[in-house]
């Protein structure tokens, strides 16, 4: 009963969304505010509707209604209730509803802002957000219905449908469900899809305003100013989703790393790349009125990549770690991306003359030129990633041969590009809008460069002779020095002129210039993350051995001794949720005992294993030990793999600081401050910001 109701509400939502699109277009053409208002209300109705439908679905999930195919696929009796709720996004059909739920929520939030100055945008923002919501709801309604029941056809195959198809018999009620993929039962994994989806969904908003700007002809930077905070928030969620996914990979995938250049990881990285380029590029439009065409193209690309990323993850076209069952969803996604992309580009071409820049670039070392170079580098990384993901598909289509494009390809190609970006991070903050010369820039940064070089030389003699690591450390030190000196000098200036102490000066400084100093904090955090990335990529060591009881592995300065292995089932709700193999390992460093580690190898009823490392984390690095398998393991003999991951925790520390930095940059300012900032629009030839 509830399944039918849930599905029916979803169908209603689909038509309400379509109505919203139609009414918005009609109301705008007929210049009728009443009809546009009707469209707006229809759009506002979407979230409550989808919430109701989702509530039905969650109820079915939590109460073990295994006659519903989605419930059967992603839950089981032995799962704790909170996991049954999160199973909502643990499978393809449910996650489509989840995507729609988030999209309708954000679209509704957008209407909460004051529209007085921008009334003409409203209909088109409604159109874009409602089309997107309609698409995802439509996918659930027509292709991947989470409320469908299961039927046997004449060949004994399972068919999913709401209403019994002709010639089928109902599948008898299963006693238990399949259960959620055990890899998805980890806290990092629970929050990772919501974060990523939040990032994807919130990037639709700037895109909607961009389309509205193109359609209405208001091609000034109004649409950018309105969506500035949305873009930052979207970027925040997307970045958080990527970091959480990395932490999850590190914690439960058991291969000792956090990023494997898996196509689905890259699918989420690609909109982040264009999003970061966009974040920087819009600053040029705001400050200098340039690059209007390029900003439009960037946000269109970001939207396309968001849908494409969802397509790659959902359609099974890649069959990677994330893939769920293949379905007819692929062509629908493909068509949607194609149509929206072509329409958007057509709009840009239509408005091409009106997007002409207001000023011109005068100096190759000005900040806008360096930002352009930043964009080129980000686009280059995007090209490498896109091609690496797409090419195996093309190859399989054309030659029938499957190929693998793996980490060596990506690392070799993107390494120098990221190094270039880091170099820019050190130089660009010191260049001025409009004009900079080699001399002025050189004078500003030579001290930081020299100190960074000294640090590198010290590291050469004390830590490593690896050229890649040293280059990386040089760039990291350079950027850190340049950025921290910026803070220092400005704070010092405030202390002198305003007679404030250090902390008050710093606080006021950051408060008055949130975007700039938030950005600097983000750059610093990225450098901390780079330390971790460099450490694990260049200096990771590992070894694998089978140990008998009491034997030890030596790796680096560490000794790991196998004490014991306990094997037992873990019971939840009276059922075996998983079979646990838990080893006990003593860890010591240079003979000094540190701690006991408990690497685990859990096996779930469907045979799926989960490898959980024993982890000893310090600033210096991680000792990461896993139990390699369990079939040949006993308390007397077990195979272990040990990794030493130097500096890895700087990655996580950096990501926390990163969130902090975005919050600073995005924190709302009082209206008065905004007015003064805008009247300072730069048309001068040389001014430091």
């Amino acid at each position: 009963m509830l399944a039918e109701i849930g599905y029916g509400i979803l169908v209603v939502a689909f038509f309400v969304a379509l109505y919203s699109v139609g009414a918005a277009i009609y109301g705008e053409r007929k210049k009728s505010p009443a009809i546009v208002e009707s469209a707006r209300r229809a759009m506002l109705l979407l979230w409550p509707l989808i919430t109701l439908s989702a509530a039905c679905l969650i109820y079915l999930l939590v109460t073990n209604h295994f006659e519903v195919s989605f419930v059967y696929e992603v839950t089981s009796r032995s799962m704790p209730t909170y996991l049954k709720i999160t199973a909502w996004w643990g499978g393809q059909a449910g996650s489509l509803v989840f995507w729609s739920w988030l999209m309708s929520a954000f679209a509704s939030l957008v209407t909460l802002r004051k529209w007085d100055r921008d009334r003409e945008f409203l209909p088109w923002v409604i159109v874009v957000t409602s089309i997107t919501t309609a698409f995802f709801v439509g996918l659930a309604v027509f292709y991947e219905n989470p409320f469908a029941f299961m039927w046997f056809d004449k060949a004994g195959q399972v068919v999913k449908a709401m209403i019994q198809p002709i010639g089928t018999t109902p599948v008898p009620l299963p006693a238990d469900g399949n259960g959620l993929n055990p890899l998805l039962r980890h806290p990092g994994m629970i929050i990772h899809p919501p974060m990523l989806y939040l990032g994807f969904v919130s990037f639709v908003i700037p895109y909607a305003f961009a389309m509205a700007a193109l359609i209405t002809g208001r091609t000034d930077d109004r649409w950018i100013r309105i969506t500035r905070r949305w873009t930052l928030v979207a970027w925040l969620f997307l970045s958080a989703g990527l970091v959480l996914g990395s932490r999850w990979a590190y914690d439960v995938l058991g291969w000792g790393g956090f990023w494997g250049w898996d196509p689905v990881e890259i699918a989420a990285l690609m909109p982040w790349l264009t999003g970061t380029a966009f974040l920087h590029s819009v600053m040029i439009q705001e400050k200098r009125g340039m690059l209007k065409h390029w900003n439009m193209i960037l946000i269109i690309l970001t939207y396309a990549l968001v849908i494409f990323g969802t397509f790659l993850t959902r359609s099974g076209v890649l069959s990677s770690v994330h893939a769920f069952a293949q379905s007819a969803i692929g062509p629908a996604f493909f068509a949607f991306i194609g149509v929206t992309f072509i329409t958007s580009i057509a709009l840009v071409i239509y408005r091409w003359p009106e997007l002409r820049g207001e000023t011109e670039m005068k100096s190759m070392l000005s900040r806008e030129a360096l930002f352009l170079l930043n964009n080129l580098l980000f686009m280059s990384v995007l090209v490498v990633c896109f091609w690496g993901v797409i090419f195996p598909l093309i190859s399989e289509l054309v030659t029938g041969q499957k190929i693998t494009v793996g980490p060596p390809f990506y690392l070799r190609a993107t390494g120098p590009l990221f190094a270039g970006l880091m170099l820019l991070m050190g130089i660009a903050p010191l260049s001025a809008w409009g004009h900079s010369t080699f001399k002025t820039l050189g004078r500003a940064l030579w001290k930081s460069a020299v100190v960074a070089l000294v640090i590198t030389v010290v590291l050469f003699f004390t830590y490593t002779q690896n050229a890649i690591a040293l280059t990386g450390f040089f760039l990291i030190a350079f950027v850190l020095l340049v950025t921290l000196v910026e803070f220092w000098r400005a704070t010092l200036a405030r202390m002198k002129t305003q007679n404030e102490n250090f902390f008050v000066a710093l606080w006021t400084l950051v408060g008055r210039n949130r975007r700039r100093y938030g950005g600097y904090v983000i750059h610093v955090s990225m450098m901390l993350m780079a330390i971790g990335i460099l450490g694990i990529n260049v200096f990771q060591v590992d070894t694998q051995q089978s140990l008998s009881h009491g034997q030890s592995i030596k790796l680096g300065d560490y000794t790991l001794t196998f004490n014991d292995l306990k094997q037992f089932p873990n019971m939840v709700n009276g059922q075996e949720e998983r079979y646990v193999n838990r080893a006990e390992i003593s860890l010591s460093e240079n003979g000094k005992f540190l701690t006991v580690l408990y690497p685990r190898y859990d096996v779930y009823p469907d045979g799926q294993p989960m490898t959980i490392p024993g982890l000893y984390s310090t600033l210096k690095g991680d000792v990461y030990v896993i139990l390699v398998n369990w079939e040949s393991s006993s308390a007397n003999l077990a195979p272990f793999k040990v990794f030493i991951n130097p500096l890895i925790n700087w990655l996580w520390i950096g990501s926390i600081l990163f969130i902090f930095g975005i919050l600073i940059a995005a924190w709302p300012e009082r209206e008065a401050e905004l007015v003064t900032a805008r009247t300072r629009r730069v048309h001068q030839t040389s001014a430091a910001d």
Binding site: K362, T399, Q401, P407, F409
Partner: protein, 171 residues
């Protein structure tokens, strides 16, 4: 745009940076993990080779981490081959001939696969070229308009001229 390297410190810094960049570039081309040859195949030896191969059935999963039974058997096969004295290349070639090029992470540059390596640099260079051209057009037109401006300009205000002088001195 000024390119005078009159500042000695600047010159040193630039040369140092170029040297670092060159070293990095060279290192990135020649740096490869060292291979230790071991007569008895340890788990590490097997993994070192398995790490460079990919599971022939699961997508994008390196052979040394793949947990399936099939992959375990393939790792045992590698161990067997190592104990028989096969070299790393021989083992890799065996897997390629048995299961196709999908078992290696970088497709050999034959036939269509050549595109994997060629297209990204081409596109990036094209992008850089477009950027460069756009830049040249911008700076040329801005120089032209600046020149035009200075011709049209009425006699400068005396105070503005003095102000400019003062600012130039302070730089």
């Amino acid at each position: 745009m000024e390119l005078k390297l009159s500042n000695k410190n600047l010159r040193i810094t630039v040369f140092a940076l170029l040297a670092v960049a060159l070293a990095f570039f060279i290192a990135s081309q020649i740096y490869r993990p060292a291979l230790a040859q071991n007569p008895t195949p340890t788990d590490d030896e097997v993994n070192r080779i398995a790490h460079q191969l990919y599971c022939p059935v699961c997508e994008n999963t390196p052979l040394d981490v793949c947990p399936t039974e099939a992959c375990r058997q393939w790792r045992d096969l590698i161990r067997q081959q190592l104990s028989q004295g096969w070299t790393e290349d021989q083992i890799k070639q065996y897997f390629i001939s048995q299961y196709g090029v999908r078992v290696v992470g970088e497709p050999p540059a034959t036939g269509l696969n050549w595109l994997v390596y060629v297209l990204p640099p081409l596109v990036i260079l094209a992008g850089a070229f477009v950027l460069f051209r756009a830049f040249r057009a911008w700076t040329k037109s801005s120089k032209a308009s600046a020149a035009a401006e200075s011709e049209i300009e009425a006699p400068k205000d005396e105070y503005v001229a003095r102000l400019e002088e003062e600012l130039k001195k302070r730089k």
